[in-house]
């Protein structure tokens, strides 16, 4: 039942490395992660790859498969032509640690910079009342499994290391949008901060992030564009701008 496929795997570390060709057995229904793990168990014992759940729920096995950012556990081998060589390489936007494993600590640093959820001070546990339709907007963004494929594909940082300092990336734009739309969150000016401190303005909505999202979160349409529109409204509407200065009200609601 097993057939053989050609797999080309990036091997190396931050200093040196290259593509290595291997032949490996593949069985019906297997995903790319299965064959990588088989190479690890039978041919290259120290091949480094991150993975956890193998069911598309944890977002650990992010890599680039034939150049496209994907989860290896959700990519069927059968989706490629039988004679095709499958090439697996580490995510390009992050520094390589070893083989297919990259240093994604950038994302955890950015997570620390997003102000946390803030409920009303007088809200008691168990007393919150919210309608399903109101929680669903934020729930869409909370589906995020933090695979960071959206960060990897985003051209603002993919080939521009220098932008990382001022750009949080799509994953954190949906985090801001989630909190901004959260029925219980009272912290003001989240959108404005997204623009001024987290680089929302650098995104020019090419939608690459939405395309690679394994959870099918509409990152661009439902999070980034609505925030950009509100930010632009306030910035360029003289009355709103004046109001925000005189009354010290939140400019963007």
């Amino acid at each position: 039942m097993a057939r053989k496929i050609n797999l080309r795997i990036w091997r190396g570390d931050a200093i040196d490395g290259g593509l290595k060709d291997v032949q490996v057995d593949v069985n019906e229904g297997e995903v790319v992660l299965d064959v990588i793990l088989r190479v690890q168990a039978t041919q290259i014992g120290d091949l480094a790859v991150r993975w956890n759940c193998k069911a598309g729920k944890c977002g650990s096995c992010s890599m680039e498969i034939n150049g496209k950012p994907r989860l290896a556990c959700m990519t069927q081998v059968a989706s490629f032509d039988e004679s095709e060589t499958i090439t697996v390489t580490p995510m390009r936007a992050f520094p390589i640690i070893k083989d297919l494993v990259t240093d994604v600590s950038f994302n955890y640093k950015k997570a620390m910079e997003i102000p946390a959820f803030e409920p009303p001070a007088d809200l008691k546990p168990g007393e919150a009342r919210m309608q399903q339709v109101d929680v669903e907007r934020s729930q869409e963004f909370r589906k995020c499994i933090e695979c960071f494929l959206c960060q990897d594909v985003c051209h603002v940082i993919r080939d521009h290391e220098e932008n990382k300092k001022s750009f949080a990336g799509p994953r954190f734009f949906i985090r801001i949008a989630e909190l901004d739309m959260h029925p219980l969150d009272i912290l003001k000016n989240r959108k404005q901060k997204a623009q001024e401190e987290h680089g929302l303005g650098m995104c020019n909505i090419t939608k690459c992030c939405t395309e690679v999202c394994p959870e099918h979160i509409r990152i661009t349409d439902n999070a980034i564009i609505p925030m950009k529109e509100r930010v632009a409204d306030v910035k360029y509407d003289p009355l709103l701008w004046l109001g925000s200065k005189i009354f010290k009200r939140e400019g963007i609601v």
Binding site: G29, D46, W51, K54, A55, A111, A116, F117, G126, H182
Partner: protein
């Protein structure tokens, strides 16, 4: 070799799943400094895989629900082998733990009144599981991850540094818990990325390492479920209780082979999914055990009516506790009524419209569509049992989650034993880890008030370091991957769903043999992010767990919950009074019997005495609980 990295903390938490993170939050709020160790990246722990929900008697959907009903259901589910006090605390405190998550930003699905919605699940009398579609575990982990970040932001404001009081050490493995003069002094481990070694000096260690599924061949667990905490506890001198009880979740995927074992949430049945064999029979009606006769419908018409009117109809038998359903499926397949790939059929497509299925079971739809090419809104799923959860675990004191016998050591969540008895109800694990994760944090804070901190001695250090270096310096040629596969074959074939004395004896001998060979594992390559090296330590842990399970299983001559003996097919009330305690003598696991604590009168009186007669001996009934 670079200089040893050294850290000092008040509390060292091993494991960054739900229990570990909840313990971390509690410990930090008590003013302590906390190190959180994860084997993988922060936020990837196995808790993300929990689908159905968190059980808590909030009474939002049916106001007849309360902690007493939840307590009764939990004890029944565990066939009364649970530590009554853990089940009691769990039932009483779960609602507060869920509401607290909401204060930290969690967004559960809602009822029409705007409260947290609750869904039906096997063994729960009322709709009780707070949920977010079928990705509840992700919501829990993310909420607590973000709560930790919020606490770090506060520390940044107060102390100038995000990591002044909580630091997450991601991709680090602990190989040993260190003691000095009989009490906890810290732990030793290595960075998975570089292989370089790290010493943590801490007077308290909280084990929150989750389960042991990777010791089995077909499992819903991720690679991390290698019983690390179970083994670390044994080696540190703590006990494991009732390791014979393993939960085989009735519905794992069976096809294609690559996804065999991946979980199919019980919510599919909670939402109306039915189980059928190849003859089209809804076979669960044939498997309602005597103890549950009054609670479950014995005909399809009544079972179907229950979905519309739960007060006047009995529950469908698809919602029996997991052990019953797993055994039934196993039996159908054995009797030749199974599907082509060795499973049975689970069908929700006839019960609910496609758009409702996609909304309530989004990740199931996604999982079957992407991995198996099956559209569950149109066709049935093929399912079969998969090793899912270990009820056995570290013996702890219910109030503080303190490990018996090792001052300074705590355990919470799946790694702790007692709470779930011989079988866990679905939904009780997420609430368990919140309730006892918090209690472990409190326990550690209390313990710290009176303890003298120990300095880790040089001799302890060098022994720990030697152990890490060993797999590179051997002359033997064993390969950790193949030994792991051999172990999985043994546990699958001999310590699986159905067990016998001769097979268990065989298993014990074979596991001992592999353990011997594992001393000769030689690792290729260097220390840098080397999975072969990592597996050498995981393997060691899985071998101890498997030994403990097999040795406990051979002694228990009855069938109960997650332990079924072909040679002793019935439940025997005299065995209900017995816990199996595993300890480690430095060479092998020893198992002895210990009496179960007696339920106090006020809890005893929550049950109908005729129900208790099914589980307890006449002498116990006559006593009527303790005072």
């Amino acid at each position: 070799m670079s200089a040893l990295e050294r850290y000092k903390y008040d509390v060292l938490i091993i494991g960054a799943g739900g229990a570990g993170l909840r313990a971390a939050v509690e410990a930090r709020e008590a003013g302590l400094s906390v190190a959180i160790i994860c084997k993988s990246l922060f936020g990837k722990a196995h808790t993300v895989m929990a689908e159905g929900g968190a059980a808590a008697a909030m009474g939002n959907v049916n106001d007849s629900d309360n902690w007493m009903v939840h307590f009764r259901d939990t004890m029944r589910g565990g066939k009364f082998l649970n530590h009554y006090r853990m089940a009691e605390l769990h039932a009483k405190e779960s609602p507060d733990r869920i509401w607290e998550l909401e204060m930290w930003g969690a967004l559960f699905d809602r009822t029409s009144e705007g409260k947290i919605s609750q869904r039906n699940f096997g063994g729960h009398e009322y709709p009780r599981l707070a949920h977010v579609g079928d990705r509840t575990g992700l919501e829990l982990i993310r909420t607590m991850q973000q709560r930790i970040v919020a606490l770090q932001q506060k520390d940044k404001r107060d102390h100038g540094d995000f990591e002044s009081h909580i630091r997450v050490f991601a991709e680090l493995t602990i190989t040993e818990i260190l003691k000095e003069d009989g009490i906890i002094a810290g732990a030793y481990g290595y960075w998975r990325e570089s292989g370089s070694e790290v010493l943590f000096e801490a007077p308290t260690v909280v084990l929150a390492t989750g389960g042991v599924g990777k010791a089995f061949k077909i499992t819903s667990n991720s690679w991390e479920g290698t019983g690390d905490g179970h083994a670390l506890a044994l080696k540190a001198g703590a006990n494991l209780v009732d390791m014979e009880f393993l939960q085989f979740h009735p519905t794992g995927m069976v096809w294609p082979p690559a996804v065999r074992g991946i979980l199919v949430t019980e919510s599919v049945r909670g939402e109306g999914g039915i189980l059928t064999n190849t003859k089209g029979e809804r076979f669960m009606f044939n498997y309602i055990p005597a103890v549950f006769k009054e609670m479950y419908a014995d005909n399809e018409a009544e079972a179907d009516r229950w979905y519309l009117d739960q007060n006047n109809n009995r529950r469908p038998p698809e919602l029996l506790p997991r052990d019953e359903v797993a055994r039934a499926i196993n039996n159908e397949v054995k009797a030749g009524r199974g599907s082509e790939h060795g499973g049975v059929f689970l069908d929700v497509s006839k019960r609910l419209p496609a758009e409702v299925i996609k909304k309530r079971l989004p990740s199931m739809w996604h999982q079957f569509f992407e991995l198996a090419g099956v559209d569950i809104t149109k066709e049935p799923m093929e399912v079969g049992p998969t090793c899912h959860y270990v009820m056995g675990g570290v013996e702890v004191l219910p109030e503080t989650a303190a490990a018996v016998g090792v001052p300074g050591l705590f355990a919470a969540g799946e790694v702790a034993g007692g709470m779930n008895g011989s079988n866990r109800l679905g939904g009780n694990s997420l609430s368990d880890l919140l309730v006892f994760g918090r209690r472990a944090g409190i326990g550690a804070a209390q313990y710290l008030k009176s303890v003298q901190r120990k300095v880790v001695s040089e001799s302890t250090l060098s022994a720990a370091a030697e152990r890490i270096a060993a797999p590179f310096n051997r002359t033997g040629g064993e390969n950790s991957y193949s030994l792991h596969a051999e172990l999985q074959d043994i546990t699958h074939n001999l310590v699986g769903i159905i067990r016998t004395r001769t097979e268990l004896q065989d298993a014990i001998e074979k596991i001992a043999e592999i353990r011997k060979r594992s001393q000769n594992v030689l690792v290729a390559g260097d220390r840098k992010f080397n999975p072969g090296f990592h597996l050498a330590f995981d393997l060691d842990n899985m071998l101890l767990v498997a030994e403990s399970s097999a040795k406990s299983a051979i002694r228990r001559e009855e069938s109960r919950g997650g332990h079924t003996r072909d040679d002793f097919p019935n439940m025997d009330n005299k065995w209900r009074q017995v816990n199996h305690i595993s300890s480690f003598d430095g060479t092998q696991v020893q198992v002895r019997e210990q009496g179960l604590p007696t339920m106090p009168k006020e809890l005893f009186d929550l049950f109908d005495v005729h129900e208790l007669e099914k589980y307890m001996t006449p002498a116990e009934i006559a006593k009527g609980g303790s005072n």
